[in-house]
Amino acid sequence: MIEDVVRLKLPAGEDFAVQKNSIIGEAGEGKRLCIITGTHGDELEGQYVAFQLARLLEKKKTRLRGQVDIYPSLNPMGISTIYRGLPGFDLDMNRIFPGSEKGSMYEYAAHRIVESISGADLAIDIHASNIFLRELPQIRINEKTANQLVPMSKAMNMDLVWVHSAATVLESTLAWSLNSTGTPCLVVEMGVGMRLTIEYGDKLVAGILATMVNMGMLLEKAPSVGQPIVSTDGHVGFVNANQSGIFMPVVPHGCRIHQGQTLGVIADSLTGKVREELKSPTTGLLFTLREYPVVLEGSLIARVLEV
């Protein structure tokens, strides 16, 4: 059942609408799961997951207890215009939650979105990094909510659960708005902006189905899933560029790497010289790697999880 979460008129003969697909189980009443994606218009990995879940769950309705609400596009204007933010509005959509009933269009939409999701037994907010960085499938959890959320994330079939420190600015995110008002929300980061990584998408779909089995929402055998590495900030090493130029990696994303091993170089295409050689700060898993070659001084190149 397709429903409007919010619908408003745009200036020139079009509606702005955020929609959801509610799949109601036929195996009785039960819990409610929300699958959310498309907050950033350049993050598309969640589109594949939303598509597969809508397709699979429609077929599994007789074994589905409760309700799954799929929100494929919180920022339809961004997705349709290849724009990360909110076109015509300065702020990142994931910095305007919980929104406001009396706010401008997007703030009002954010308010209606939170209102729609609130009360769910679990929300899964799927992100895809950005166009610059490729990420291994992971769940990010604010340390303030770790006790509740880390156990819920174990069956999600992700490679990594990163428990990060709390920052006040993150209190404007959808996940924070939901978690702080009693709706548990897991944030997934995987893949890269503007692309689909089918392998990661399939992995997450299996994890969501396994989680649903654990929640008693899906009356079938759970797919087999891998266990994530659970880590905190202190075990993540960052590599930033200190020069501008073209980044050329020499190791593949997702590999195991040693402290001091070269990750790649920043090349100067004007002089033909290497401006900087970038090395791993620690021994571990290269879970984030720069995808977009042009880098400026400060650009994030890699993150390595010490394992």
Binding site: L8, L10, F16, R95, N240, G245, V294
Partner: protein, 317 residues
């Protein structure tokens, strides 16, 4: 006056080195720092700083500065964006004014923010020439966030019509103004009416307001005669009446920021773009002064179009 390089951003080999300049006046004491644009469309903010630099140089030459008082003006930190016509950092669309206090080993705009913050941290007073997240015009005013660190009475010394007070949101915690306050600087944001257009009269008024503040704080001689200011009215953000559109279409604005209106006055009309049929007459919900006007030819449904400072009575012909 001394011109200093505060931070140099290097994007070689694609863009040439971009320096962020600071202009210092008076002594080396950290009495007042003024920061202009952090976004690429803040032309008015740079212009105000340019006019301020020019004026302070004249005042310094006249001996108008009091001893042991120092002022630093950073007109622009946004050339990388301004030179390509973008509001935010063109590479990743990040906002420098959402990166404070910055991080010198972090991402590009965190490093830039860190470079600026290091230069302006520790000043007794700070003024940021700010712009709003929605396109539009304000009546000139000073605002501060109610962080618990602020010294709000100083805001009256600018002599602008209003001193707006608002509660900070989580997203504000990474702005320059907020971090200034956290680090014990008496920080204000000054809205000089425009953003992406240069309004010379408003810029002159903004500079005069900063000079009045400097005189009040004892940076300039007390006997310095300056253009008279307003009796500033305090207003809390939640006091402003927000007018939200019920329709979408093309907009015909009938009033500007600063206009006095009575309840029921028609402030704008929204038309169907294809038939020119009037879809909505946007009316004042209260008597008062127009504080903010949203700018643009077209507007969506449920958008903020005006805010009004309510008043018991206005005087009109």
């Amino acid at each position: 006056m001394e011109k200093k390089t505060i931070y140099t951003f290097s994007a070689l080999p694609y863009r040439q080195k971009i320096p962020v300049y600071g202009y210092s006046f008076g002594s080396n004491e950290k009495t007042l720092a003024v920061v202009g644009s952090t976004r690429g469309d803040e032309y008015q903010q740079v212009f105000v700083c340019g006019l301020l630099v020019k004026t302070l140089q004249k005042l310094e030459d006249k001996g108008a500065f009091k001893p042991n008082k120092g002022v630093l003006v950073i007109p622009s930190a946004s050339q990388f964006s301004m030179n390509v016509g973008k509001r935010f950092w063109p590479m990743d669309n990040t906002d420098i004014n959402r990166m404070f206090p910055g991080y010198n080993l972090g991402e590009t705009t965190q490093r830039l923010a860190s470079g600026i913050f290091e230069a302006v941290r520790g000043y007794e007073n700070g003024i940021q020439l700010a712009s709003f997240y929605l396109p539009g015009e304000f009546i000139p005013h000073v605002r501060y966030m109610n962080t618990g660190f602020q010294r709000e009475d100083d805001g009256l010394a600018f002599g602008l019509p209003y001193l707006l007070v608002r509660q900070p949101l989580p997203i504000d915690t990474t702005t320059l103004n907020y971090n200034w306050q956290v680090f014990d600087t008496n920080a204000f944001s000054l809205y000089a009416r425009a953003t992406d257009t240069i309004n010379v009269d408003a810029a002159r008024s903004a500079v005069a307001a900063i000079l009045r503040f400097m005189r009040h704080k004892g940076i300039l001689r007390q006997d310095l005669e300056l253009p008279a200011g307003h009796t500033t009215v305090r207003v809390a953000a939640e006091e402003l009446q927000r007018i939200i559109t019920e329709s979408a279409g093309f907009v015909h604005l009938l009033c500007q920021a600063g206009a006095f209106v009575e309840k029921g006055d028609i402030l704008a009309r929204i038309f169907d773009p294809c038939t020119a049929e009037c879809l909505e007459e946007v009316k004042a919900g209260c008597t008062g002064q127009i504080f903010f006007v949203r700018r643009g030819q077209a507007i969506a449904q449920h958008e903020l179009i005006f805010s009004i400072k309510p008043m018991d009575q206005v005087v009109r012909v």
